[in-house]
């Protein structure tokens, strides 16, 4: 034996010993708590004004025929919009996902595309085409067209995910195809329908531009009228209170309807894709439904915009304000996206890496502002800045804060997905291969999380780019974004000059539409 070297092997150097303090985790918890506190601001505002106004005044302000009228309008709008929207979403989803309708893939893109048309641009398109297009029927029609994708996306996603084995089992138990749809398929779509309806219902409550344009009064339009005409604090604030209660009502209703339902596949392995149903002679006629909806939701805006753009030739593109407001919009979008993603980062990290009861509570504090109308967030910030921090009133900082609050849930969802791409095992593997924490961050964490972070930022930026309500109420005087300038021009009935702004907003929203569509498809494979 010649190998006896190990006897005089040099002693190994002593390693530095340190206590693990988990500083990162604690810092994240602290930061997330801070953000959660900020996110509770609008809710605190509502409670505060309720207490401050007192029962008597509050009752006098709320118990008015006007409020009753608004409540009836809102209720009617929900009732006239949701059922047809659910019906269309189901039909479209079934046709694009489960039938052999020609061009199903392309038509599924068409069904999502109206997302790129901001709701108030949609109503602008209809009003300028039919000047006497007003009232509840108009409101319901435009709402269905504008918000149908919010129902179509989850329903179609769920429909693709359904395990065909369940339908085969039902068939082997002697059920007819119609009864299988009613008793097996539809119940499994309940969560998707409830979730999509909640989203649409909340948008109906929160939207300002759409209904103001076709002169249909809802709480949100009334609050802004009140605010702009008289800066009448208590009256607008009380309406905001009722609006928030309505939102909670919608959420509660959805919660009741959804129940404790949880539909999961039992058993292991990936589900096989469901076979598509043959439509036979109905194959081509079936195309008329998606085409008709696309003509109404995309064709009408396209027609209106091209008409206005043609009418005035290319002079219309040479408005100085157009370039300026595009620049402002891009600036706001970038700042809003950066701020919202930065604010959501600690929470996203905690909810992936350290989920427990406390972080789940913090997470719901981060998520609930997504259900609040922008007008409520804006009113809260107006009141808080005017009363407590006047120098901040009508500053860029306040607008950005409003964007952060409104788009926090969006940022959180995207970031969570990004961080989930880097399981802690990969960071540990990197450490055991000799990389220190900083180099691990650069070589493993960032490259893997970057796509999710970028997607989250893009979603927020595109939301900011077409945001109208909060920007109108909070932006410094003279600020012109695409949305506010478009709004100012249409208020003066200068529809032609407004058209380029609408086109730019649609172009800015297109990537978001593609992103959401891709996300919904991907979630199926996850």
């Amino acid at each position: 034996m010649t190998v006896s070297l190990s006897l005089d092997a040099p002693a190994l150097p002593a390693l530095p010993l340190r206590r693990q303090r988990n500083l990162a985790g604690r810092a994240m918890l602290l930061l997330a708590s801070g953000v959660a506190l900020c996110a509770l601001l609008p809710l605190g505002f509502i409670l505060w004004i309720a207490i401050e106004t007192g029962w008597q005044t509050a009752l006098a302000l709320i118990w008015r025929p006007r409020v009753g009228e608004l409540l009836a309008n809102t209720l009617l709008l929900e009732l006239c919009t949701l059922p047809p929207a659910i019906g269309f979403a189901l039909a479209l989803a079934w046709l694009t996902e489960r039938s052999d309708m020609p061009g199903a893939k392309f038509l599924s893109w068409l069904a999502v595309a109206p997302l790129a048309v901001p709701a108030f641009v949609q109503s602008y398109a209809w009003v300028s085409l039919f000047p006497r297009f007003h009232g509840l029927p108009a409101a319901a029609l435009v709402s269905v067209l504008a918000y149908l994708p919010f129902l179509y996306l989850p329903v179609a996603a769920q429909m693709r995910r359904l395990d065909p084995e369940l339908e085969h089992a039902a068939a082997s138990l002697g059920q007819s195809p119609r009864r299988i749809f009613l008793r097996v398929v539809l119940p499994q779509l309940r969560l998707a329908i409830c979730g999509g309806s909640l989203l649409v219902g909340l948008h109906l409550l929160a939207e300002y531009g759409l209904y103001a344009m076709i002169r249909f009064d809802t709480f949100t339009t009334a609050i802004i009228d009140q605010f702009q005409s008289s800066y009448n604090g208590p009256a607008a604030n009380m309406l905001a209170g009722v609006l928030v209660l309505s939102c909670f009502g919608v959420i509660g209703l959805e919660w009741l309807l959804r129940g404790g339902a949880r539909y999961a596949r039992i058993g292991s392995g990936a589900p096989r894709p469901a076979p598509r149903r043959r439509l036979g002679a109905w194959r081509w006629p079936a195309v008329t439904l998606p085409i008709a909806l696309a003509l109404l939701g995309l064709g009408v805006p396209a027609l209106t915009l091209s008409r206005w753009l043609m009418a005035d030739g290319d002079t219309i593109w040479r408005q100085g304000a157009l370039v300026a407001s595009l620049a402002t919009t891009l600036g706001y979008a970038a700042a809003g996206a950066l701020a919202a993603v930065a604010a959501a980062l600690p929470m996203a990290w905690l909810s992936v890496r350290a989920p427990n009861r406390a972080t789940r509570f913090l997470e719901s504090c981060h998520s609930y502002p997504g259900a609040l109308p922008g007008v409520v967030v804006a009113l809260a910030l107006v009141t808080v800045t005017v009363r407590i921090a006047l120098p901040l009133y009508q500053t860029v900082a306040t607008v950005i804060l409003a964007y952060v609050l409104m788009f926090l849930p969006r940022a959180l969802v995207g970031l969570r997905a990004g961080i989930a791409q880097v399981p802690v095992e990969l960071e540990r593997a990197s450490a055991s291969l000799g990389r220190n924490p900083a180099r691990t961050l650069l070589a493993v964490t960032l490259p893997l999380a970057a796509p999710g972070v970028a997607a989250a930022m893009a979603l927020v930026a595109m939301g900011v780019a077409t945001e109208l309500t909060a920007t109108l109420l909070l932006a410094p005087n003279g600020t012109q974004t695409l949305a506010t300038e478009f709004w100012a021009l249409t208020s003066e009935l200068d529809y032609a000059k407004a058209a380029p702004y609408a086109v730019l907003m649609i172009l800015l929203s297109l990537p978001m539409t593609a992103l959401l569509h891709a996300q919904a498809r991907r979630s199926l494979n996850a």
């Binding site: 206590r19 540990r428 000799g434 990389r435």
Partner: protein
């Protein structure tokens, strides 16, 4: 020189004790398997060794280098410890070459040559170097993960259930390949598993953990035939227990007098026999018993026997080669091969 010395390591998570004064010495070049049911603390112990978790108390020393002294620990990236986890934890954004070279010095001159050697070491085709992890099968991923850890020539290799995600057929061949590679490289290895068959075949030293405590360590043979308690006996395989009276030489029970080490004990105790120790024959001598049930398992069959003696019924199972399979209802005479094991008295 002793390589890894773990002394009195304890770790609590809130009210649960994950590790309770665990001490273990791992000899250089040996393969140790830590086995135990899930929640027994074996993975926590591995994380403490790797440096992903700090113990509340106790020390971990590798080749004289202190890795952990109570809550003060050396950072994981400075320890010379490789690790392979259940799913391999390959970096999905890097190809196989990127994964293998991750721990190598960037300036290493003959890097390409080194990567090829590593692939050959784990018996993979070097043509796979350009593949992404998701283009590999589960077994190939585990081999790449092993090669990646070997690239840094670690002093100690930790394997955390690395075969459990693989199909049964594949599991055995990958396990044998991994054992071969590690033996060739002469690297001390600790394997954590809940699969006792895997542990018995892989390790030359076995450590059984339960509820955060290290219950027993020794060679697989010793632990299988001389377990410290009933739970260990049952965890490592099927066992049949009988009450027995301790004689001056051996013990006596329903099966008659059996050879056993009594260690000077007297009175009564519990003996353990493995089901494969029984021999059934149509003629005596032995305990007369009826065949109640037969469970055919291919090479072996498990026979349920019922013996009636003095009005008391005793039911137990025996495992016999299926070429000697009896019929249900037969009466056989049961004798015992090898000594019985007198379990240490509790407490």
């Amino acid at each position: 020189m002793t390589q890894l010395v773990i002394s009195d390591v304890s770790k609590r998570y809130g009210a649960t004790t994950a590790l309770d004064r665990v001490s273990l010495t791992v000899e250089p070049g040996s393969r140790v398997a830590i086995v135990g049911p899930s929640g027994s603390g074996k993975t926590t112990l591995l994380r403490v060794i790797a440096g992903f978790e700090a113990p509340d108390a106790g020390t971990v020393v590798l080749d004289g280098q202190v890795l952990a002294d109570g809550p003060a620990i050396a950072p994981a990236h400075l320890r010379r410890i490789g690790s392979v986890t259940q799913d391999g934890a390959l970096f999905p954004h890097l190809d196989v070459a990127g994964n293998l070279g991750f721990g190598l010095d960037g300036s290493e001159p003959d890097r390409a040559q080194r990567l090829r050697e590593l692939m050959e070491l784990v018996e993979l085709d070097p043509a796979m170097l350009t593949r992404k992890p998701h283009e590999l099968s589960g077994g190939q991923q585990q081999r790449v993960a092993l090669a990646r850890a070997l690239a840094r020539k670690p002093a100690l290799m930790l394997l955390d259930e690395p075969f459990s995600a693989l199909d049964t057929g594949l599991r055995e061949s990958v396990r044998q390949a991994v054992a071969r590679v590690l033996t060739r490289a002469g690297i001390t290895t600790i394997l954590v598993t809940h699969d006792q068959g895997e542990a018995l075949s892989f390790a030359d030293q076995l450590a059984v953990m339960r509820e955060g405590k290290l219950v027993q360590t020794g060679s697989p043979y010793e632990l299988y035939w001389r377990p410290a308690d009933i739970e260990t006996a049952l965890f490592l395989g099927n066992a049949v227990l009988f009450d027995a009276r301790i004689e001056t030489v051996g013990v006596s029970c329903v099966l008659g007098r059996l050879a056993a080490e009594t260690g000077g004990r007297s009175g009564s105790g519990t003996i353990m026999l493995r089901p494969e120790q029984f021999r059934l024959s149509p003629v005596g001598p032995g305990l007369e018993a009826g065949i109640e049930d037969i469970d055919f398992r291919g090479a072996q069959c498990v026979v349920t026997l019922l013996a009636t003696q003095g009005g008391a019924e005793t039911r137990f199972t025996a495992q016999v080669p299926s070429v000697e399979q009896p019929q249900i209802g037969d009466v056989v005479f049961v004798s015992v091969k090898g000594p019985a094991f007198l379990l240490p008295s509790a407490g």
